[in-house]
Amino acid sequence: MNRVAVEKRVLSENDAVAAGIRETLGRAAALSLNFIGSPGAGKTALLEKTLERLSTQDAVAVLTGDIQTDNDARRLSRYGHPVRQITTAGACHLDARMVERHLDGWPETGLALLFIENVGNLVCPTSYDLGEDAKIVVLSVTEGEDKPLKYPGIFRKAELMILNKVDLLPYVPFQPELARENARRIHPEIDIIETSCTTGAGFDQWMNWLAARAARKKLTATTEAVHADCSRADC
């Protein structure tokens, strides 16, 4: 018997594909965001309202994942931006290969912003890097305030928590402060925005977050391009 050290990530094949996606989207300076949340948290509604606020001149595209049906792609395609459905046929998460296959041609068209709506699930999508710049976790007030404690993986990895459906707060025994506190126990630096897709509450703040994040991505991409040019020119 011979023991050999390996010390590699189990999902290294997925990670390699994700790195390729990140590089391709980085060259295009396109910001990509991976939305993760329970079924019914309001991911699709959030994207609908977001697309509604973006100009059709903005180079935005959406990949939306579901186990079955293209219902979400049909909903999202009403806003004038390209949308592709990824039907996983049973898989409870998107992986980088699925994203790579469905991205076909988009990065070359001057894409600036890519939304990826993951399959509704707070556990499995957490493990898979899709080449995104940031994960966004969507939690709704019809769920429990302790979701961040029960599903710490995604709340640790997410850059932003969107607390959705806040228009329902008068009707449900949900304490937003407790949800915020729980999220920050798991991830002290997580950004938190409260939204309602029904009233539009919080959308100015969300759109500002999005604009700031896109600007940061563009700056990073420009800096990296300058460094790459510089190293090629041996300066």
Binding site: M1, N2, R3, V4, A5, V6, E7, K8, R9, V10, L11, S12, E13, N14, A91, C92, H93, D95, V123, C124, T126, S127, Y128, Y151, P152, G153, I154, R156, K157
Partner: protein, 95 residues
Amino acid sequence: MHEMGIACSILEAVDKELRLYPEQRASKVALRIGEFAGVDTESLRFCFEAITIDSEFGPMELEIEWCRAQDGRRGDELELAYLELDDVGAKEMTA
């Protein structure tokens, strides 16, 4: 249940590693799984056994080191730590 996908990824990784050792087979694979990796270790064991038992890889023991997010660990580890290899033929000899 993404544990089945992860079990398949483990086998892919083992298969890739074994190409470096053509005269050997893996009798054990050791994983390191962080507390925030989002992996149910019992489901993973079940899936791993299901896909290896009658395959060219089986039988292969799965050892899991579950680790907390401390001492420099992030807690989201999902890593193949090491393999234990036997000479090809050892399976038949011990069967």
